[in-house]
């Protein structure tokens, strides 16, 4: 019996990943969560961070930026608000963006919050890109 999970990563505008994997690590709202074969049915909120999908010795990297993860019957569905594959991310571009966001001087609570969210997203992307 193959102990594989059927994994799908979805964003509102595309299907980012579809395939069978052995082990998945997902950035949940309060830390990373790992999923193996025969996991109990679960729905969890996602945070901003990295997703690692392991098949045999091979690991693939993705970022997720909020959303939900659902596992049921060995089907893992990651519903991200936005997500990128490692191949789509270019390190230099992210570093440039990061610099412009860092240079911003936010005023008031809402702006500060928006900037800090943007920073977390960019840092997560950078981490994945430099994997």
């Amino acid at each position: 019996m193959s102990m594989k999970l059927q994994c799908t990563i979805l964003t509102p505008d595309r299907i980012l990943y579809e395939g069978d994997i052995h082990f998945a690590v997902v950035q949940a709202y309060d830390g990373e969560a790992g999923f193996l074969y025969n996991h109990a049915p679960l729905v969890s909120e996602l945070g901003i961070g990295e997703v690692r999908l392991r098949t045999g010795e091979l690991t693939e990297f993705y970022t997720v930026e909020g959303g939900f993860v659902e596992i049921h019957d060995n089907k893992l569905v990651i519903l991200a608000e936005d997500a990128y594959a490692k191949a789509d991310l270019v390190k230099d571009e992210i570093e440039k963006e990061l610099a412009t966001v860092r240079a911003k001087e936010p005023k008031g609570y809402e702006e500060r919050l928006a900037v800090s969210i943007e920073l977390t997203k960019l840092k997560a992307r950078l981490k994945v890109a430099s994997r």
């Binding site: 509102p12 505008d13 299907i15 679960l42 729905v43 939900f68 659902e70």
Partner: protein, 294 residues
């Protein structure tokens, strides 16, 4: 009767019109296919969201009093988001949506005395409302094929905050729904407050009744899922409307091309008749002239 030259000129102009409509047909076919694939890409996402909502309800979160679900006792201010295209030449696509919206508005405004605000997406809707001097609450560009989920998400958050602030009591969405690949209809649906509707998926889920673990808690997930639900709804209706527009334009251009082909055929027949008549006339003249000489 038109002279040979006049008819030839008309044939020429109709032929060139036909070329244009034919090209436009091909362009919108290509765009339509692109929209269709985007539509298909976005489908699994909204289905999964529906599923999760179903699971949540199943685990007894039905009684959650999220402000987005709460009906207002006496809704007086109503916002209608009307999605139209930026361009014409697409048959009844824009007029159908506009008529549908205005009928809806009049019914609410005249019969029930409510204040109806129109939030218009797309140039055509905006210019028509300006023309008939209907007030427009807000106007947004229809981004057509440049539309990303982010743009829809911004619009969705705007609607949500208008609703939560108490600016408006209900939000309706008036756009063209894709019933099947070959049939699109203008439709109006209420998106805020969210009406809990038991869908087919939900019923099938209830039968299995697996107990899910929810993290952090069903309530937290529910309240962060609902805004996403609205955004996805806005996004998919913008996509559907874009698809319908291209479809309508393709049909309109196909009809125009066919009509032009038919017209060229008729004109050619007429042209040949006139030419024949002229030749016959000339022969008759020559024969007549020869007879006079004898």
């Amino acid at each position: 009767m038109a002279t040979q030259r006049e008819i030839r000129k008309r044939i020429k102009s109709v032929t060139s019109t036909r070329k244009i409509t034919k090209t436009m047909e091909m362009v919108s076919t290509a765009k339509m296919k692109k929209m269709q694939s985007r539509l298909q890409m976005s489908k699994p996402y909204s289905e999964k969201i529906d599923r999760i909502i179903a699971h949540l309800r199943d685990s007894g979160v039905d009684d959650v009093v999220d402000p987005l679900l709460q009906e207002r006792a006496d809704p007086t201010r109503i916002l209608v988001l009307m999605v139209t295209g930026n361009r014409g030449l697409c048959g009844g696509f824009n007029t159908n949506v506009i008529d549908n919206t205005l009928n809806f508005k009049n019914r609410l405004a005249v019969e029930e005395g409510k204040e109806v605000l129109l939030y218009v997406v797309g140039k055509k809707g905006n210019s028509y409302l300006k023309f008939i001097e209907e007030p427009v609450y807000k106007y947004a560009q229809n981004l057509e094929d440049k539309l990303s989920f982010n743009d829809a998400s911004v619009m969705g958050s705007e609607l949500i905050s208008l609703f939560l602030n108490g600016e408006v009591d209900e939000v309706y969405l008036s756009s063209t729904k894709v019933v099947s690949t070959a049939s699109q209809k203008p439709a109006i649906q209420r998106i805020l407050p969210i009406t809990p509707e038991r869908t087919e998926i939900e019923q099938s889920v209830s039968e299995f009744h697996t107990q899910y673990i929810f993290e952090p808690s069903p309530y937290r997930i529910f309240s962060s899922l609902l805004p996403l639900y609205i955004k996805v709804k806005v996004y998919s209706s913008l996509l559907e409307s874009g698809y319908s527009e291209q479809f309508a334009r393709r049909v309109a251009m196909k009809n125009a091309t066919d009509a032009a082909t038919e017209m060229v055929r008729e004109l050619t027949i007429r042209y040949n008749r006139v030419r024949q008549a002229k030749i016959t006339n000339e022969i008759a003249e020559i024969v007549g002239g020869a007879a006079a000489l004898e």
